[in-house]
């Protein structure tokens, strides 16, 4: 997993609420057995018409946002299916950070496993960032994970919360499984005790 420290990049505004993972990556692209290559189909049904041509109005098709690294979105981003293809598609497109008033739990977790930082901020602050993002490619938002701040193109800064363990893993690009395996002794002893207490499991 790539480390996440600081990014300064173009933010794309998507003010819609309840953007679900079916929108982020429709099911026909879940038939892959790989993690890579999904960026071209990110938001596929909003981004392309029935003939596969780009829909000019869609934000990521506009010249200013084709290189976006940040998404600013409406409430409850990532709801629905648990498909990790959603963060894979975002990452493959180049998105490293999503800012919204709230996120669905499973999507939120999945982001951290893939080097993407989801940031929940109060609606008023998201509204300010949304306006900033709407300025287009000259407006660059800075996200600093170490300092836990988001800064608009004109220097207005907001602090955000992040779980300390998740922050540590993201800053250092750490593999969860490796970290858990260091605790194998604790799992072994739990398993032995559970097998005695609940032999039917």
């Amino acid at each position: 997993m790539d480390k996440f420290t600081t990014i300064t990049g173009i933010a794309a505004p998507m003010p819609l609420v309840n953007i679900d993972t079916d929108m982020i990556i429709p099911k026909q692209f879940l038939k892959t057995i790989k993690r890579s290559g999904l960026g071209v189909n990110l938001f596929d049904e909003m981004r392309y018409d029935d003939n596969g041509n780009e829909i000019a109005d869609f934000v990521l098709n506009k010249p200013a946002y084709r290189e976006a690294q940040i998404l600013v979105a409406g409430d409850n981003f990532g709801c629905g299916s648990s498909r990790e293809h959603a963060p894979w598609a975002l990452l493959d497109f180049g998105i490293r950070c999503v800012i919204a008033p709230s996120f669905a739990d499973i999507f939120f977790n999945n982001c951290f496993k893939n080097g993407i930082l989801p940031i929940a901020l109060p609606q008023e602050q998201v509204d300010i960032l949304m306006k900033d993002a709407e300025k287009g490619e000259n407006a660059r938002i800075t996200v600093d994970l170490e300092a836990q701040t988001v800064t608009t193109s004109d220097g207005q800064s907001f602090g955000f919360d992040v779980d300390a363990f998740k922050k540590h893993c993201l800053l250092n690009g750490l593999d969860d499984i490796g970290l858990t395996m260091e605790k194998a002794a604790a799992i072994d002893s739990f398993e032995a005790k559970a097998a005695a207490d609940r032999p039917w499991v």
Partner: protein, 469 residues
Amino acid sequence: MTASKTLYDKIWDAHVAHEADDGTCLLYIDRHLVHEVTSPQAFEGLRMTGRTVRAPEKTIAVPDHNVPTTLDRADPATMTEDSRIQVAALDKNAKDFGIHYYPVSDVRQGIVHIVGPEQGWTLPGMTVVCGDSHTATHGAFGALAHGIGTSEVEHVLATQTLIQKKSKNMKVEITGKLRPGVTAKDITLAVIGVTGTAGGTGYVIEYCGEAIRDLSMEGRMTVCNMAIEGGARAGLIAPDQKTYDYVKGRPHAPKGADWDKALEWWQTLYTDEGAHFDKVITLKGEDIAPVVTWGTSPEDVLPITAAVPAPESFKGGKVEAAARSIEYMGLKAGQKLTDIQIDTVFIGSCTNGRIEDLRAAAAILKGKKIKDGLRAMVVPGSGLVRAQAEEEGLAQIFIDAGFEWRLAGCSMCLAMNPDQLAPGERCAATSNRNFEGRQGRGGRTHLMSPAMAAAAAITGHLTDVREMM
């Protein structure tokens, strides 16, 4: 005196294998269910790092999302190349890593959330995970069950644990009795109508109250299945005699002395008097009507007697979302829900693909025909549900009414197999999501109970099933 605990607290406490100073826990996983779509990258990850499956005996796999449901599905030509590859990958991974497996050819194959309980893999007090958000279904047994991403699938395969922080406790109580024509599906949709799709985010919901207790195990699974649609990763219902009766005698349920010991523990799995809930929602059972969705979010729920709402009746970002939904759905504000004409009826899915669901639909359809020109299909949740429905004569009722009688799979719930809506096609569906494009690009989905879907099949428009009872 020990502190009062919720059911969630008790199951959580019994599964913490390690707790760090900041409260990050390793939660031990008792059952790991696996399907073909969200697992290939996880198994590939194990291979690349030289890791193995820590507890293959607790890992159960079944292909369900991609598989065709037509009777000719043994023919590989019924699947697209990429679907074939994905199912073949699961075949190989199950064999290579020595995990329990129900291939497409096995009569026990079906939707993973129907197969787990049916085979007795899901038991009270367990932790159950699957790379699928509808894992919440298993909470009906008083098991802590939730969906995970593929990285977490790999983590559980390798370590049999999940890195977790504890969620908050939410109680959803449904008091009193349901009125005739109102089902578990109406309860779960009505709750989402109240909480919204984000109302449960960060919580584990415990459903309780007389109307919940009165539900069968099948109905309880329907309720818990859609906890995720309210934003909650898991829904729980305390086990009781109905739970034990359902579990007893299933292939992987405990037997003999193990059964007695299990039962003794299961009977302690309830929320103690005075235990703290961070949020409480109470609905009166008699206030719940048969409901349908009108929009593209499961929170867009209204009683069948209502009309399509005006976007301006909402607040904040929902105004724009509602306007977008109404346009996508091809509806008009003020239009009566019962005036909405449909093209297709889909009965099935992990929400409503169990025997009781098929009985409820068949009871409405018996001796009737579906509206001319309508496409209608029943997709049983498992091969065993299908066999039982044939034995009970339900299959013949569906066939006589004009429904297609299919083989088991997820089918048109998410349309990864050939069962899809065409653009603009409108469906009365017993599944769980009405998102844009969910059942096929441009497809329009109205969620409802099996009885309501059957009623719509007969009239060709959304219909109040109570008028047919």
